[in-house]
Amino acid sequence: MKQSKLKPWLYLLPAIIFLGVFMVYPLIDVMVYSFEEGYNFVSQTSKGTGLYNYRYVLRDPYFVQALKNTFVLVIITVPVSTGLALLISLALSSVKPLRNLFQTVYFLPYVTNTLAVGLVFMVLFKKTEYSDGMVNLLIKAFGGEAVDFIDGPHWAKMLVMCIYTVWIVLPFKILILTSALASVKEDYYKAARVDGTRPSRIFFRITLPMISPMIFYLIITGFIGAFKAYSDEVALFGVDLNSAGMNTMVGYIYDMLYGNSGGYPSFASAAALILFAVVFTITCINLMVSRSRVQY
């Protein structure tokens, strides 16, 4: 069965062209940018080559703040959302009637535009001159003091951010976990029940290990996704994130490139490569760990 040598390449050609122009070339270009010190868009000159950009970025207090914000976001939202998704999935698997209804409801946030809904969250949490906002109403009902979550202290802003992020990522995780739970063979449960094992023991000894690959997958993708957070922040706090102290690493990169004080592609590239290093490391950790796991 002779195949023309050229044909497969023909089939691959469109993909190769697009990937080459829009992925490979940029990758190399970005690396070049990051070593051209202080490249300026307008004058199209740079001050030489070297590590100046990296040194600048790592000392920029707004990069450091973006770094901290991103890390806090990752560390809080990933466990919380995964844990909550697990609880909800378990609850869903244990009830038969109305399950479809609940699943549909829980999946709604996935199909909505995050920027649009972010606006709603902003309205709910913001304290304006006219009113304290919906959420503050609840807080006051419980005897607390009203807090401006959108324009107030840093911990409040971080809290809203985490709540919104969890709200957005929950549907996907619930879906994955419910299908993972459904795929655990009934026989295991039946055997355990015949033995008279307590439900908590069933959960920890049977359910959890069987769905652990899925949980691990969700945690890793959750980490990587949280590192790329940006449009959610914009939805809540507007475009001027540096000033609001809520920038993320991706936001820092964009602001360097295109924001009001932008036009510094070299700094943006250095920051982007640092971000890539972090994401790449996590991916490698993932590969290493998943290869060492014993597969059932």
Binding site: I28, V42, L58, Y130, G263
Partner: protein, 531 residues
């Protein structure tokens, strides 16, 4: 063998892309005035203009274009509309790199200074202006344009960058204080001709008195912000200027972070705390509150006069919320009423260098046409601007317009004309800030100082010397002010690494050592197992 081949391929690919990735700049030749403007050759020039979502301003542009095209049928002008200057700025910057700049654009001189970082991007107007044939008021012009002397000299000042003229002013405005007279009278005060800062603070604090049920005594509503300043940039700059303090200089030195600034910030603190003072970014547009009877002193550009007052032709708020009151216009608060200073601002026009000299000439002619009386007067009437030429200001049409103050609530809206008259009476008291590449960032930094202090006070942070010092550093970093100075200070890229960056780098290194270690051990174990 195969491995070596693929390795070579990869290296070759890298080399190719590296070469193409090298970022080179293009060279441009400076413009020289040709002897004749060829009226037979066809030219198409692009004109990027800013207008509020105000349809009358677009009409002015379009009429100007069609009138110009009637005089010069060989020139075709294409208008591109923008709703804010930042967008024009961004667009021009990206297009400089690809040599696709417009021909004429309306922009701020601060921005032009940044455009000039590329060589010969914007045309130097010094020679062009005074050219006998085609300069301002030149003999070969087909329209009646102003001469160089007829442009108000103070306005031309802002268009000088490094001593050379790179733009012509288009429209001018200053800032004005719009007062709700009824509320001031209710508090038992009169309105002086030139209010002072002490007066404003005093009245604002007096207005914060509340009834037992939580509403404000003076307006009976639950919301009242006595004093709102729209542009905190201008607020800080004006206050510094009034104190004869340092802000920046023509060489590009940033002198903003000094003790006078600190004193100004301290003076704002108590009023931010009592919520008698707020800003546009924090609360919202001052006009919205003023018109609803929820603000006493609103400061905005004279261009915003059409939004202020009970009968304002433009309004953002629901008509049910508007309250009836008398609006009074005054100059912005001063430290010394006998030595007043107010900032003058406004869009300017510049032309971009192109290879075809004729194209540049066509752009220059169009730009001059925008300074003719008709265009100047009709555009200035759309908002509280004034024409930049004495020729237009003193023309009978404009004088008639001013005299018809209050005859209707549209073209002759009283607050708008009052604001224009205020400006005309105070032209000698206006000032402009030095223009250099990055001066826009310095002005944003000035505003950011005020915003930050106001916000922090509201969040119950203590504002003391240490806070101010930290604020100075943070703001300088936020606006990349270290990139301005020509010498290029190395301070940012040296010195101790912040803790978080150190943690990041160290943990990356540790993780990689661990990963490589585990991988190596696995390989060794596999080898051992198979041997």
């Amino acid at each position: 063998m195969k491995r070596i081949r693929t390795l070579l391929l990869v290296i070759a690919a890298l080399a190719v892309t590296l070469l193409s990735g090298c970022h080179k700049s293009s060279k441009r030749v400076p413009f020289t005035v040709p002897k004749e403007f060829d009226t037979t050759k066809e030219y198409t020039i692009t004109f990027w203009a800013k207008n509020d979502t105000n349809i009358t301003q677009v009409n002015v542009y379009e009429k100007a274009i069609s009138d110009f095209e009637k005089l010069y049928p060989n020139v075709h002008v294409v208008l591109k509309k923008y709703t804010d200057y930042a967008a024009i700025y961004q667009d021009v910057i990206t297009n400089i790199a690809t040599d696709t700049t417009p021909n004429v654009c309306i922009t701020y001189p601060d921005h032009i200074a940044t455009y000039q970082k590329g060589s010969n991007v914007v045309v130097n107007l010094d020679n062009l202006m005074y050219d006998v044939n085609y300069g301002l008021g030149g003999s070969k012009l087909l329209f009646d344009g102003p001469t160089a002397e007829e442009i108000v000299p103070k306005f031309l000042e802002e268009c000088r960058i490094g001593g050379a003229v790179y733009a012509l002013p288009y429209m001018r405005s200053t800032e004005a204080l719009y007062i709700n007279k009824d509320l001031v009278t209710k508090l038992g005060y009169d309105i002086p001709d030139v209010p002072t800062w002490d007066y404003i603070w005093e009245v604002s604090e007096a207005a914060m008195a509340k009834n037992a049920d939580g509403t404000f005594v003076v307006n009976g509503q639950t919301t009242l912000i006595p004093f709102i300043y729209k542009s905190t940039d201008n607020m800080m700059i004006s206050m510094l200027w009034q104190k004869h303090a340092a802000y920046s200089d023509a060489d590009g030195n940033v002198l903003l972070f000094n003790d006078d600034t600190r004193d100004i910030l301290y003076s704002i603190v108590p009023h931010a705390k009592s919520r008698s003072f707020s800003t546009f970014k924090i609360s919202s547009y001052p006009g919205n509150y003023l018109n609803a009877g929820q603000c006493i002193f609103a400061i905005d550009s004279t261009a915003g006069a059409t939004w202020m007052g009970t009968d304002a032709p433009n309004s953002d708020i629901c008509s049910d919320d508007i309250v009836r009151f008398e609006t009074v216009v005054r100059p912005i608060p001063q430290y010394n009423p006998d030595d007043p200073y107010m900032i003058s601002q406004g869009p300017s026009m510049c032309i971009f260098n192109k290879e075809d000299e004729g194209e540049v000439m066509a752009s220059w002619l169009f730009m001059q046409f925008m300074l003719t009386n008709e265009v100047q007067i009709s555009y200035s009437q759309t908002e509280g601007y004034i024409p930049v030429t004495t020729k237009a200001q003193q023309s009978p049409e404009y004088q008639e317009y001013l005299a018809a103050e209050g005859t209707d609530n549209g073209l002759h809206y009283s607050v708008k004309i009052q604001a224009a008259k205020l400006f005309l009476a105070n032209i000698d008291n206006t000032f402009v800030t030095p223009v250099f590449a990055g001066s826009a960032s310095v002005r944003e930094a000035a505003g950011e100082l005020v915003e930050n202090v106001t916000r922090s006070v509201r969040r119950k942070k203590t504002v003391d010397d240490a806070f101010i010092q930290q604020l100075y550093e943070d703001t300088a970093a936020l606006k990349h002010l270290d990139q301005i100075t020509v010498s290029g200070t190395e301070t940012r890229a040296s010195g101790a690494l912040p803790k978080a960056s150190k943690v990041l780098l160290i943990s990356l290194v540790i993780v990689w050592i661990a990963l490589i270690g585990i991988y190596a051990t696995r390989l060794i174990l596999k080898k051992k197992a198979s041997s």
